[in-house]
Subunit: 466 residues, 2 copies
């Protein structure tokens, strides 16, 4: 950053304006305002030092943990420095799952008597083994039909190894994730139906590397809850090879994880009050909680600090919004979505009219665009109002298209809110997602700042059309 | 990579085809072929292990060095494994500049007697100091008009410190580079006109970090050649602060670099012969030489291995081109452009008709598109033929637009060749460019592979329209 040499001195003189819905041309004044917003983000952005502070002084912050409580205070304190109209904590009861002491997974004979300890991470929400080692033969399933074919005869008393890879040929890595994550989410219960005593899941990444990836699972209520643990893709490939040579291969494991009673936590909210429609809201947010490994840098420290910097940028450039602009740091996206649920319920209860909610939870990479979603019939009408904004993002190589919003803002959908997902380049996301490798150092400063600029620019433009 | 589970089995049954120049629709067969090309790049790509081998077994490879000679052999040997129709070395005489022992730069008093050694890199082509320490007072110039104002009175006998930053608010980092690199290229001679005895240049990056960046300079023949050295942007900021407090601040330096007689080296070329027009050529290439620090990973190891993998992918997918397809690894892009110059002259001499030349020399990051250039009037006609290819790249979020080609292919321009630059995301490029940090580990496998797929896809489509 070169504070000494670059000055962003544009002050917005235009507060209210309108866009012609048909014109695909840019208004020079708005174009300049967008440029000034990006320049502020890139020359004086605060999201990078904020992210370092969140990652290094707070660290990981799973819902219900001491880290999460510290993160709430960190976020409130940081927002308090910005001279906003209001910063507050919105109470949310969150689940409290603890990993406990490090898990232990070992590949054991079969015929090959050589034992092999491998790094692994219990899936979030998994039951533990009560401190006892469990051990059984492993059977591999690459598809649900594999599982069906194995049936109770092939599975009962054994450990199922789900080993369907994320398809590396999918260009958008989130689509590859969507094609594999069902194993992590529902593999345990689907295996338990056939009498499995535990599951081992191949990690969710298109790479073959050394990182086990955690992430949430969901237990069916009608079958026994069995332990579920992730191993790296490299170890999954090795285990598959070993099983080919030696189908009697077994795995032993000890999991110390457990679920405790719910804990009081908070969404953290900051806002600039609208000068004309103070009870109409445009928000940008990410989630403040993370998994309990690494530092939750890309997931979703980056989304939090970008949303915070969006408010700082708008203030710094002197913009006075006509609607109320909020940054919402949701608690408990990873394993419960309680923050998003409470936020939407409270908005409903208080009669807050939300115009648009933007979620940034896909990593702090170079922006590619925003995707828009909304409820039924209202969406098309709402999205027609977005189309004239497209030319403003062309210089930034960004597109505005229909597509996904996000998990935390999803509960607002029935309130006819225009939902919007920030869509950065996705190629590196699953190098880090839910792993010990998701630390501050893997975030690029300029890529992060461009995201903050993009959020602030979109919110500036949205405030003009709503 | 998940070789065991993903198979690319598409064989191209259609060899010759044509595109309607007006239709903006995709032909299903070509769309599938493009998909198969990308899938081959992403599921079975060789550019990543090749890059590791080039970086770790060869390392950096400045023209004329032992490393460059080793790189030529490495490239030929690797291409020889692909079953191409021809692989050969094209002789090129290249400059031979040596850094010699590590440079020494020290900030000395002024009034502050505390001395401070700082890391620095002589600019490529700089004269040395004959093993002697030179020392003088430093004067800062942030612009050419600063330099003019200082004039001979302010500069004679002193060291000029060029400290104009790359503008962090420019979205495309290459534009910011273009706005600052004149200091590195011509700063020494412009300062020498006023009697400076050496120059210190702020490194070329939008970041403020610890890496000195080397790169070539150009001496005017009419003024004395003076030593030129780059310091990191962080040290440049600190030096500027120190100069504000203490204008008498001086710098001492010893540079061991020197220029030696030209050396015989080679462009490395591999080709698949065209079945219909064997003397008409489409090429993709990068440069095999690098600076003499780091491993030349992004600059331009990635461009080399992507161009090589382009040939492998086309062969692997069974495509039989009608024109001859070449991979050209140019020697001496960094400090002479001799390889590109010789290649174009030889093409002319042999009457080789080049249809299109694609250069990949902007780092191994996620593809954003290709930019096209060409000579005068022919360009517009040529580019009209490119426009119908746009829809094929939409699923890959890539654009085809007029813009720069590249340094090595530039000499082909007078032969009415369509020039094309591969255009990846540029945000991280100047984190590494010409530094010790440009190593294999900072290249992402998927991003690299997507580039190889993009090259192969474009060449497949070009072969169809030419």
């Amino acid at each position: 950053m070169v504070k000494s040499t670059i000055f962003v001195s544009v002050v917005f003189t235009l507060t209210f304006f309108s866009f012609s819905a048909s014109a695909q041309q840019k208004d020079k004044q708005h174009e300049d305002a967008v440029r000034a917003i990006y320049s502020q983000a890139l020359s004086d952005g605060q999201c990078y030092p904020w992210l370092e502070s969140l990652c290094k002084q707070v660290g990981h912050r799973l819902s219900g943990s001491a880290g999460a409580a510290k993160a709430v205070q960190w976020a409130k304190n940081t927002l308090d420095t910005l001279g906003l109209d209001s910063v507050w904590l919105q109470p949310v009861m969150v689940p409290h799952w603890e990993r406990g002491a490090a898990e232990h997974v070992e590949i054991v004979g079969g015929n090959d008597k050589k034992r092999l300890k491998i790094p692994a991470l219990a899936l979030g929400g998994s039951v533990g083994t009560d401190g006892k080692k469990i051990q059984a033969q492993v059977v591999e399933a690459k598809s649900w039909s594999d599982l069906e074919k194995l049936g109770e005869a092939g599975i009962k008393g054994k450990i199922v190894f789900f080993n369907r890879p994320m398809d590396p040929t999918r260009i958008r890595s989130f689509e590859a994730y969507g094609g594999a994550v069902d194993q992590r989410v529902s593999g345990a219960s689907r295996a338990a139906k056939y009498g499995a005593i535990a599951v081992v899941v191949r990690s969710m990444t298109q790479n073959v590397d050394q990182w086990p990836h955690t992430g949430s699972l969901r237990y069916d209520t009608l079958v026994p809850r069995i332990p579920a643990i992730a191993i790296s893709t490299r170890d999954a490939e090795d285990l598959a090879k070993r099983l080919k040579k030696d189908p009697a291969t077994a795995v032993s494991m000890i999991l110390h994880c457990r679920s405790l009673p719910d804990v009081l936590s908070y969404n953290v909210i900051g806002e600039i009050r609208g000068s004309e429609n103070p009870n109409e809201y445009i928000l940008a947010g990410g989630h403040l909680d993370s998994w309990d490994v690494g530092e939750g840098a890309h997931d979703d420290g980056t989304g939090c600090v970008q949303s915070m910097d969006m408010l700082r940028i708008l203030k710094k450039t002197g913009y006075k919004p006509k609607n109320t602009i909020r940054c919402v740091l949701f608690m408990n996206e990873e394993n419960g979505l309680r923050g998003g649920t409470v936020y939407a319920a409270e908005a409903q209860r208080k009669g807050e009219k939300h115009l648009c909610a933007i979620e940034t939870d896909a990593g702090g990479f170079t922006p590619r665009g925003f995707t828009f979603d909304g409820h039924g019939d209202v969406f098309e009408t709402l999205f027609e109002r977005i189309k004239p904004l497209r030319p403003y993002f062309e210089p930034y190589n960004m597109t505005l298209n229909p597509g996904g919003g996000g998990a935390d803002i999803g509960p607002l959908k029935p309130q006819n809110v225009l939902l919007c997902g920030y869509y950065p380049d996705s190629q590196r996301y699953f190098d880090f997602h839910h792993t010990a490798a998701d630390v501050f150092e893997v975030v690029n400063k300029r890529e992060l700042e461009l995201g903050a600029g993009s959020l602030a620019a979109l919110i500036y433009l949205l405030d003009g059309i709503f």
